[in-house]
Subunit: 226 residues, 2 copies
Amino acid sequence: MSENEHGTLPLSPTERSTVKRGAKRAVAERDALWATLDAGLVCHLSTVVDGAPLVLPTGYGRDGDTLYLHGSTGARSLRTAAEGVQVCVAVTLLDGVVYARSVFHHSMNYRSAVIHGTAVPVTDPEAKLHGLHVLTEHMAPGSWEHTRLPNPKELAATAVLALDLTEAAVKTRVGGPVDDDADVEADLCWAGVLPVRWGFAEPESAVPGRPVPEHVTRRAAAAPGR
Amino acid sequence: MSENEHGTLPLSPTERSTVKRGAKRAVAERDALWATLDAGLVCHLSTVVDGAPLVLPTGYGRDGDTLYLHGSTGARSLRTAAEGVQVCVAVTLLDGVVYARSVFHHSMNYRSAVIHGTAVPVTDPEAKLHGLHVLTEHMAPGSWEHTRLPNPKELAATAVLALDLTEAAVKTRVGGPVDDDADVEADLCWAGVLPVRWGFAEPESAVPGRPVPEHVTRRAAAAPGR
């Protein structure tokens, strides 16, 4: 619960994600950002609507430094503002609960990405189809090849938003509790980490007569996240 | 990916969470709201900072219709504005990936709670200690009794926020894909659900000489979430 070891994300009202850092650090952070985004399945998309904050969960996909968002979720303004809308997007992966010797030092292990920018509706049909491809393959790898692709009517009914990853921050907490020396010396109670794991269970078929395809069984069999 | 079966949350810029509904439905929704909040571990807290949206992950706990938030995460304004700050909070539990016969009808199964309101700093020492108790027991059930409680200095260094649950919406998607009749009849590919499961792994001890206490082993042994 203390601020020192998990604390605030490296963001502030004035500096936001732009932290002073060397080029090497920036490359490492870009890798960590991509890895965090690639490991998640749902993001939280935040906008300002009539001066009030609105946050909603939605699917996403990443292609290089572009994050594609599914426009059906969220405020109508997101889908219709041709010039784009200011957004903040967070992807969070919880890795464990940190039990400390004091309530104050209880914490969580996690990987977190926060992106600031302008989400722009993708309207060009070919670019939109590409965005949908990226979104679909992130949510359900293999589905783009396996299932019926969007027809013109479906494509028109689907909103895709693109967000540049330039202004982004990534933060991670790993490891055990960081207790005060006095509490460690007192040795009055247990402390440690309860790791959080997630993964996929057995596929539930909606087409009993048909074998589960390999792109689905492979995903189900993969080791739980991290 | 279509809007009809998972679509937008029951929120709009003008109506937000206030949906027309009967008293029975309202009670059921309150139960679902509480259950969703109680099943999650991390929320996404959204605010408006200098006119721009900001969303950050943070811990929380629920006592009746009050959601307590941990004030160390997020914008400084959240912790210092005595009169409170307008926030939107989302708790999302992903239950499965829905593979449809068409890309368009791909979807996700989930439970989602979205709360709008004013987060007010809890400053009265007794109320603050209660809020911390609720937060701690949600993150690490049993820890309040097991570990050293906050001393006055730690209590002063910790910010706790309270948010009323009155203006809240809960949404759930369950079940298999909802495909077009033509795609079902064509029977060209597999469809179904890949369930998502999460739970706890074996505790990693930071105090090797000491047995893992029962409140931790019990949690680790509990069946993975839903």
